[in-house]
């Protein structure tokens, strides 16, 4: 079962916890042990804001089995207001309204199910506002 793998990512997926490098200020999402920019190993935990904008995106029309019921759906790379980046599925939005530069808010949604008897897996999705 994927329980241990799932639980480790909960602070990031449920609460958008990231780590900010104390030396150069780069925000790593998810947190890392060593900063890829300046190689420092000291971080502070921050919570990302739930607002951002779309940097690029695509509309997935052929998905793997887990997401095949949801096609077509958009996935976007989003930059949050504090400059962190993440990838999220777009929810509750007409595909025509998804575009580079659009503002989004991040919401808590169910991301996938582990089959019919496994875990419900939650995380963040983005709604164009």
């Amino acid at each position: 079962m994927i329980s241990p793998r799932y639980v480790r990512e909960v602070p990031q997926r449920y609460r958008l916890e990231a780590s900010k490098c104390k030396t150069c200020g780069k925000i790593n999402f998810p947190p890392r042990l060593i900063c890829p920019s300046c190689k420092s190993r000291e971080f502070e935990t921050i919570t990302l804001s739930d607002k951002g904008k779309i940097l690029t995106y695509t509309v997935i029309r052929v998905a793997s089995a887990i997401f095949s019921r949801e096609t077509p759906y958009a996935v976007a790379i989003i930059e949050t207001t504090e400059g962190a980046k993440l990838m999220a599925m777009i929810a509750d939005t007409n595909l025509d309204d998804v575009a580079i530069g659009k503002k989004v808010k991040l919401v808590f949604r169910k991301i996938q199910d582990e089959g019919v008897s496994g875990l419900h897996c939650y995380g963040y999705k983005a709604i164009v506002i």
């Binding site: 609460r15 949801e70 509750d92």
Partner: protein, 348 residues
Amino acid sequence: MIGIIGYGSYLPRYRIKVEDIAKEWGSDPESIKKGLKLFEKTVPGLDEDTITISVQAAKNALKRAQINPKEIGAVYIGSESHPYAVKPSGTILIDALGIGPDVHVASYEFACKAGTEAMFVANSLVKSGEVKYALAIGADTSQGAPGDALEYSASAGGSAFIIGQENVIAEILFSNSYTSDTPDFWRREREFYPRHAGRFTGEPAYFRHVVSAGKLLLEKSDMKPEDFDFAVFHMPNGKFPQVAGKKLGFTEKQMETGWIAPWMGNTYSGSSPTGLSAVLDEAKPGNKIFMVSFGSGAGSDGFIFNVTDKILEVQDKAPKVREMLDNNKIYLDYGGYAKFREKIILNE
């Protein structure tokens, strides 16, 4: 003073109209609209469930309560569509909101009144001094069997209430409960759809319990219907609450603000709680609110609220029920609805 210090709701954006369901089964939409006073209902997205709805409603309640989530000592979610049969929905919600780990969590189940169950217990817990704040949620993504009458009303949504003793916006003056073994609607373990007993769900079930609980609550509080500004009842459709309210002596005007089923459907455990939330969105200081829920099986919980001055400071701090009902709607056809509600057999 003990009562609600923050409240919030969440309704999904998707809708389906009564006409589109009726068309599928060869039924007459006009008779349903006239007879049951239902026009359209909310539909949860594939990525929404009782937990995600509860999280959003609770976030809205926290926006109004403005407290540190870590001070919440109990989290109770009432639903008849908990995503897990064994694992309380609240265990996921607390991690999503940064509550706990020193928190008491439980799931409640009592058909459509599981939400007011949670409120009843949360209120008692704060009253006893056991916890500083208790979060009570009623939320559902209920299922109606295809072609069944309940398919027109079973919908999704939920509301959350934080109970505490400071900065109370609606004091809980009285509460009561009325319960009996009345099998009007139930679901056996491992069945996908519920069953119901047709017209037996009316007089012997809904009306008996709502009216009895209502009468006992009026007696207990020594108050009369005219003393109230608002009345909210469980809304399995648009018609039943109006009939029950009138039997108890309330007018349509008193029930109007909380009467949201015609556009929301029946959000089961979220039904009367969301009606209450809609009332709180528009209430003024000094208003009195009368509320009686109903859960099949069967029972009713009753509450009397007294709105305080603080209500005006919080109403605008989070989305209102009327806004969520009226704006940003995305309509589905029956195929889309069936897909979202997982009524289509997949190859798994």
